[in-house]
């Protein structure tokens, strides 16, 4: 019934508008010099608004952006992003200026003649070649960074960790002493074996299932992703890492943590962001927040997509070894 009420109000507004337009002049239809003058000035006004908003966003929103990359591979990402952002920022400011300044400068006037200027191969060559060269340089660096991130050499000997996604949580499994993950398949999911590990596989015996990720600083970690039901995406924004989890296949992504959680909490950007957040939380009467690395789901996966998270803690290698040795192997847990 309430919907009808809203629709009724909308109709009432429409009818009153109809009545108002009776007295409005619907004869004013084509722009004259006065309109050109007004609209030209408004274009300049809009340009100022746009500049102000862009500058405000660039400065004021710096604080809400993700802090510097917490992975070594992500450094190139940050670097490339900064270069790209500066470049497109400059082009954006220049182009918007031209668009709205020309709109004002060449606003129509009664005796003004437009210039018949249909073509210039030289100009067109310039604005084909300059973007082309810039782009080639940008993607040269980009592709180098991409290959650096995506290909993991055998000699790097990374620590293997499996991340298993399902509606609506994450599970993880460490490869154990042999640094090789046992096979997994949905057919093996039963009771405590919630990740569907094939316990007849010898590699599975020393695997360790955990509820939180703990990573050693400075060691390369190779994540293997599987999904139990629908697509999910393992997003670890602080490490500039993301990979989809696809039912029926194993995907992977690797990075090397650069800072421990404790070190990251001392990072100036993190402190500034955390302070900002805590000011807001305090006003709402909520507990203060402490920075942690997180794994989030970033592919629409169902009703609770918005609440699929796992904490990631980065520690010194010695502490990592100690923590790992305290975890039970699957052979101990699943009889």
């Amino acid at each position: 019934m309430l919907a009808l009420f809203y629709i009724f109000i909308a109709v009432a507004i429409g009818v009153s508008f109809w009545q108002i337009t009776r007295i409005m002049n619907f004869r004013s239809v084509i722009a004259n010099d006065k309109d050109n003058e007004t609209q030209g000035k408004l274009a300049i006004g809009f340009l100022i608004f746009l500049y102000a908003m862009m500058i405000y966003c660039l400065i004021a929103m710096n604080i809400i952006m993700l802090p510097e990359s917490a992975s070594i591979e992500g450094e190139h990402d940050d670097n490339l992003f900064n270069i790209t952002f500066w470049l497109i920022g400059i082009v954006q400011f220049a182009m918007q200026f031209l668009i709205f300044f020309f709109t004002y400068k060449y606003r129509g006037k009664k005796d003004q003649k437009a210039l018949f200027y249909a073509d210039s191969h030289k100009l067109e060559l310039i604005w084909t070649v300059i973007p082309a060269v810039t782009i080639v340089i940008l993607i040269g660096y980009g592709l180098w960074a991409w290959n650096n991130i995506m290909y993991v050499g055998d000699d790097e000997n990374p620590i293997e960790i499996e991340v298993y996604s399902r509606q609506f949580d994450w599970q993880a499994r460490y490869a154990g002493a042999d640094n090789a993950l046992g096979l997994g398949n949905v057919n093996f999911i039963k009771g405590i074996n919630s990740m569907g590990v094939d316990m007849s596989d010898p590699k599975s015996q020393d695997d360790k299932k955990v509820t939180e990720l703990v990573l050693p600083k400075g060691k390369k970690v190779l994540f293997k992703f599987r999904s139990q039901d629908v697509l999910h995406s393992a997003y670890m924004p602080h490490f500039r890492a993301q990979m989809n989890c696809v039912p029926g296949m194993v995907t992977q992504f690797a990075f090397t943590p650069k800072y421990t959680t404790a070190e990251m909490r001392q990072n100036a950007e993190v402190i500034a962001k955390t302070d900002g957040i805590n000011k807001i939380r305090k006003a709402k009467g909520e507990d203060p927040y402490e920075f942690d690395f997180l794994l989030l789901c970033n592919k629409i996966c169902g009703a609770s997509h918005y609440n699929m998270q796992m904490k990631i803690t980065v520690v010194e290698p010695a502490e990592y070894e100690k923590w790992l040795s305290e975890q039970k192997t699957l052979a101990q847990v699943i009889k």
Binding site: F5, Y6, T21, N25, F26, S28, V29, I30, A31, C57, I64, G74, F81, I88, Q92, Q96, I99, F100, T103, Y106, Q112, K113, A114, F116, Y117, A118, D119, S120, W127, P131, I135, L138, I139, G142, L143, W146, N147, Q167, F225, Q228, V230, Y235, Q242, M243, G248, M249, T251, F253, K273, I277, I280, R281, Y289, L294, N298, C301, A303, H305, Y306, Q309
Partner: protein, 589 residues
């Protein structure tokens, strides 16, 4: 054809009409209606994003069982973003934009009595209408409409156990889209055939207005890519209802292992984006074509670099079919493919840059008549540049890793194709309204509409980039479960307020549009002093468009302000209709 004066009844004239001008109006009004639904949905979910814990009576009023005490349920949030995307992309910006202006302008601008097949044209509209009806019906299904995102990736879209919207709602979505694709294909084939075969004498391909080139190439990419979405939809229907395993494998859900073996969701992603990416250009190219025409006319200047514009339309169209993988950098496909798609993707920046520079050069030293249509076109150039530039971030696979599926992407594509194409569509409506209804729209309301729209569009989507850079994933019902996003509340509220003002500003357009149909000032034959053929037809619509013979064309469409050595207009005025023969000694441009 024009000699046949069939007896027209109300039904043949207004409902089952085969006249392209009437069909174009039908497309437009249906598109506007769908736009109201799609736009209204975005208002509802923006309320949820800004004030996730607050109760709204408007949500209580419209969402029925899918809300609790005025707060929408998570399922419904996903349903709203899904249907908003589907409606805006396909029903408003594909059918509403292309359907309207291709139908209206193709016969009129090339000098034809009607489309090659008036009957198929009518079928195309009625299939579109039918698909719209099915889509709207799907909103009222008990378990809710499709909710797997507009990209409907399986397994989520295939399994009702995964999300309730993947039951009947999803079935209707697929049926609706299958009908829609049939409509689009029939329409596109008709456009291609008409442009190739029915041009009037003298209308060489190189004399076509850029609108025609844009619609022509758009139709071609539609014909190439839409069938692939149809096959993806059919395979998904088979997986859903007939137990095949094209896209599904190894699934354990609701406590049981499903029988599916050997399929791959990644295959679906390939098929989907093989249409999905060209679709962006199916939406955008017509808007750019409309803009070219309007900017040139209102700048009283030839469009700069006509041939380069055609070349860049073709380059964009070709590249658009080989870049789909940039939506899948982190889908699990081979990283080498990622490199290839990065390369092809950023190449698109080159023809796009050429287009932007050519638009700006057309403004330079013009005599700009700042009509509402012109302002919307200038606005399009602005948002196209802003949105296009961030494509350099997203197209670069290494950078995409961290912003993929965040609000950065949402901001990017809304500016570059959503807002840009909408601005182009509005520009087209303001410009060709006199051709459609024989009356003019009010300019004051047009100005209000434009400035409110562009300010709020930037107000919503510019700050949104930074929300994405803060790492916030899209399609989150609320981010209150993550303290790390608590500092985004203020921006989210700001964006929602902007969105509501922007949404309300569209009411000005609706009022102007519908009132002008009945009350608008009677139009002159050529109100904007334009060169193209549509302005040589009488204001009152007649079957066959021209009362006498079809006019012959003697020049290109852009002889605006053509002057001789003394700086005098060659033809005594600043425009020369395409039908005007060359004077003695006049150089063709």
């Amino acid at each position: 054809m024009s000699d046949h004066h069939h007896k027209e009844t109300f039904v043949t004239k207004y409902i089952f009409s085969q006249d392209h001008k009437m069909i174009s109006k039908q497309f437009l009004v249906t598109g506007i209606f769908m736009g109201i639904i799609g736009g209204f949905m975005s208002m509802l979910f923006r309320l949820q994003i800004a004030w996730p814990e607050k109760s709204f009576s408007i949500i209580e009023a419209f969402l029925g069982d899918h809300q609790t005490d005025g707060i929408m349920n998570p399922d419904m949030y996903l349903a709203l973003v899904t249907i908003h995307g589907t409606i805006m992309v396909f029903f408003v910006l594909t059918a509403g934009l292309s359907g309207t202006f291709s139908n209206l302008l193709i016969p009129l601008q090339i000098g034809a009595r009607d489309m090659a097949s008036g009957f198929l044209n009518m079928v195309s509209y009625w299939l579109f209408f039918l698909s719209s009806v099915v889509m709207v019906i799907s909103l009222f299904v008990e378990a809710g409409p499709a909710s797997a995102g507009w990209t409907i990736y399986p397994p989520l879209s295939a399994l009702p156990q995964a999300i309730p919207g993947s039951g009947t709602g999803m079935t209707l979505w697929l049926v609706s889209m299958a009908i829609f694709i049939a409509s689009s294909l029939i329409g596109s084939l008709n456009y291609i055939v008409t442009i190739l075969n029915l041009r009037t004498k003298g209308m060489k391909m190189t004399r076509l207005p850029l609108t025609m080139w844009a619609f022509f190439i758009t139709a071609i990419i539609g014909v190439i890519s839409f069938p692939v979405l149809l096959s993806a939809a059919l395979l998904l229907i088979l997986d859903r209802s007939f137990g095949t395993s094209f896209f599904l494998s190894d699934i354990f859900i609701s406590g049981e292992v499903l029988h599916y073996q050997g399929g791959s969701p990644v295959l679906f992603e390939h098929l989907f984006w093989f249409l999905g990416h060209p679709e962006v250009y199916i939406i955008l190219l017509p808007a750019l074509g409309i803009t070219s025409e309007i900017i040139s006319t209102n700048a009283r200047k030839p469009i700069f670099g006509y041939r380069a514009m055609i070349g860049s339309i073709m380059a964009i169209a070709f590249l658009s079919t080989i870049v789909w993988g940039h939506h899948m950098f982190i889908s699990g496909m081979n990283p080498f493919l990622g490199s290839v798609f990065t390369f092809t993707t950023v190449l698109i920046a080159i023809p796009s840059a050429v287009k932007a520079f050519n638009f700006i050069t057309t403004l330079w030293k013009g005599n700009l008549q700042l009509n509402p249509a012109m302002l919307f076109s200038i606005g399009l150039v602005s948002t196209f540049v802003t949105g296009g530039l961030t494509g350099l971030v997203l197209g670069d696979s290494a950078l995409d890793i961290n912003v993929h599926d965040t609000y950065f992407v949402v901001a990017h594509f809304h500016l570059v194709m959503g807002v840009s194409a909408l601005l182009g569509m509005f520009a087209g409506v303001y410009h060709w309204f006199p051709k459609m209804y024989g009356r003019m729209m009010n300019k004051t309301l047009g100005y209000w509409h434009f400035w409110l729209t562009i300010i709020t569009a930037y107000g919503v989507f510019f700050p949104m980039h930074f929300v994405g850079l803060a790492g916030l994933p899209r399609r989150y019902y609320t981010n209150t479960n993550f303290p790390m996003f608590d500092d985004l509340v203020e921006i989210n509220v700001f964006m929602t307020v902007m969105a509501i003002i922007g949404g309300a500003a569209q009411l000005i357009f609706l009022a102007n549009f519908f009132i002008s149909i009945y009350r608008g000032n009677k139009a002159e034959q050529n109100p904007w002093k334009s060169n193209t053929l549509e302005w040589t037809t009488p204001v009152e619509h007649i079957h066959g468009n021209w009362p006498g013979a079809i006019p012959e064309v003697h020049r290109w469409a852009y002889d605006y302000s053509k002057t001789d050595e003394n700086g005098e207009y060659v033809h005594g005025k600043d425009f020369v209709l395409q039908t005007t023969p060359l004077l003695d000694g006049e150089e063709p441009s």
